[in-house]
């Protein structure tokens, strides 16, 4: 399988009022196409920090992250934004859809940023909304959707740009168990049928149970990395 992400000796140190926090403390890790990996660990173990660095949202103190052959630390901040647009899909804990856009527009928006034709956008959004089971809510604004529905729209949005992988920081933390199960079904299905790569962090045992690979962090270090 093709390697999409290669992380070597990654460190992230925060200096906060003379206290040095090593949020990520020497992580080496790689992900291949088609993975369905969970990053787990206690609160403060560095999950969010790690995901943010992989997503190019945060800079690291030391080490390297190579995505699809590109050393992301070499990109200017403008290039990084375009890189994210075309290569990485994000799903946030708090959904973070744009409230003034309808569900469909939220997903379409990202393709407009990529200058995709209207026809291409329409087709892809239809297909994605079908896949995440939210077609009938396409023209509704996020405020009128449940958390589970919003997160499904967020997954569709993340996929719209045809990214190389999806990063999701605790995507189910705000969802009830039914919605969590539904969302996981959708994610697993996309992973199995479309070979979409998912990397997500979680605290939820039910989510961990459904991951194909579980990476456990503690104090910014990997303490276990199991493939089921």
């Amino acid at each position: 399988m093709k390697k999409v992400i290669e992380i070597k000796d990654l460190f992230k140190t925060y200096v906060d009022a003379d206290i040095i926090v090593k949020a990520v403390n020497g992580v080496s890790l790689s992900f291949e196409e088609g993975e369905f990996a969970a990053i787990v660990g206690p609160s403060g173990s560095g999950k969010t920090t790690l995901l943010n660095m992989i997503g190019g949202l945060d800079k690291y103190t030391e080490g390297s992250i190579i995505i699809d052959g590109i050393d992301i630390s070499q990109l200017s901040s403008k290039q990084m934004i375009d890189f994210r647009l075309n290569n990485i899909g994000f799903v946030f804990q708090a959904y973070n859809l744009i409230p003034v856009l309808t569900a469909k527009e939220n997903a379409e928006f990202i393709m407009q940023l990529q200058h995709k034709s209207k026809k291409e956008r329409q087709e892809r959004i239809m297909e994605l909304f079908e896949a995440v089971g939210i077609s009938e809510k396409a023209n509704v604004r996020p405020g009128k959707l449940s958390g589970g529905q919003q997160q499904r729209v967020a997954v569709a949005r993340a996929l719209a740009s045809k990214p190389k992988f999806i990063l999701a920081d605790e995507p189910t933390a705000n969802l009830d168990s039914k919605s969590t199960a539904d969302l996981l079904d959708i994610m697993r299905k996309l992973n199995e049928e479309e070979n979409i790569t998912f990397i997500f962090s979680t605290h939820d045992q039910r989510v961990i149970d459904r991951a194909k690979r579980v990476i456990t962090l503690e104090d910014g270090k990997i303490i276990s990395d199991e493939v089921k």
């Binding site: 943010n52 949202l57 934004i81 075309n86 994000f90 973070n96 003034v100 990202i110 407009q112 949005r157």
Partner: protein
Amino acid sequence: MNLRIAWRNIWRNKKRTFITISSIILAVVLAVFTRSFNEGTYVKMIENSVGQLTGYVNIHNIDYWEDKMLDNGMEVTQDLIDNAKSVEGVNDVTLKIESFALAAYEKSTKGTLLIGINPKKEDEYVKLKSKLTEGEYITESDRSILIGSRLANYLKISVGDTLVLMGQGHYGQSAVGAYPIKGIIKMPSPVIDRQIIYMPLALAQEYLSFPSGVTSMVIRIEDGDLADDVCNELNSKIDTTINKAMTWKEMTPELIQMIEGDRAGGFLMIGILYMIIAFGVFGTVLMMTEERKKEFAVMISIGMQKSQLAIISIIEMIYINAIGIGVGIALTIPIVMYFHYNPIKMTGEMAKSMEQFGIEAELPTLMEFSIFKEQIIIILFITAFAAIYPVFAIMKLKLIKALRK
């Protein structure tokens, strides 16, 4: 897309946007009213004193303006007239002779301003005939006169009666004459109406023993705005050791000063008003930005360039301000237009004080694009000022911090 997002964004908080836009509308409406009433009044003042009396550009003997006596008058030659007419923007030249005269009728006497004119041209340019309230208008060859209605009242003289004029003619010769009143005119400026006497030029020259003499050559120009250019051009053509061209601005500095002072006061008021509005708009944009920082961070995370996000913020500001100015102007145009054709008539103290300045107690508005343009420019500045904050905030946005909110 940018336009749609920006448009929807401004209506997120309908009440706040509504208040902001309303405040802009209010400022525009107030400013347009103030400015158009002010400018309308100034135009009226200038027309009253300049249009009716002096004319926009005059040629005098170099000493005349300092010391307005007949002895400082000038000899007019056809050459001089032709020369003046050849200047671009000059439509015509009319001649005028002015002098002080004591008027007497029965038991009353009064100091008057005697003006010798070309009756036909004077009517053409200042519609003198239309001011006639009684009797008939004078012709060039008449040996009769027109007098102001208030003067006629004062002297208790009416059409057909003969008025005796006494004064000093050219080079100390005494000027005495008796002339029948042919008509009574009502001048808009009460000050003038109380002292004016019009006489055909030839008759005045004869009365003042100053044949072919005048005190001013009035240069009639196409457009008051050309006054400065025409004046300069004239001065380059005439012998300035003898005569000199002057614009109305030089001739009526008090009027200019008064207008400038008043205008500055108006600007100050409008400036303060807009300043308050600008800070109001700024407050709105501050809130709009602060409450959306996380959203901005999300948009940047998923791949939107900061510059595009900044453009959306600028478009939002443009929308708010454009609606404000658009509605403001749309509201004021019909009202300004109405008062332009139906000036407000002043009464009481205000009217009295205006009349003292020689102005009709009327407040017409000035319908001019420049007044609206001023407001548009000010609003543009406010838009730019208001857009600074979000643009700055977006460019300096700390992604992780904003996302954690």
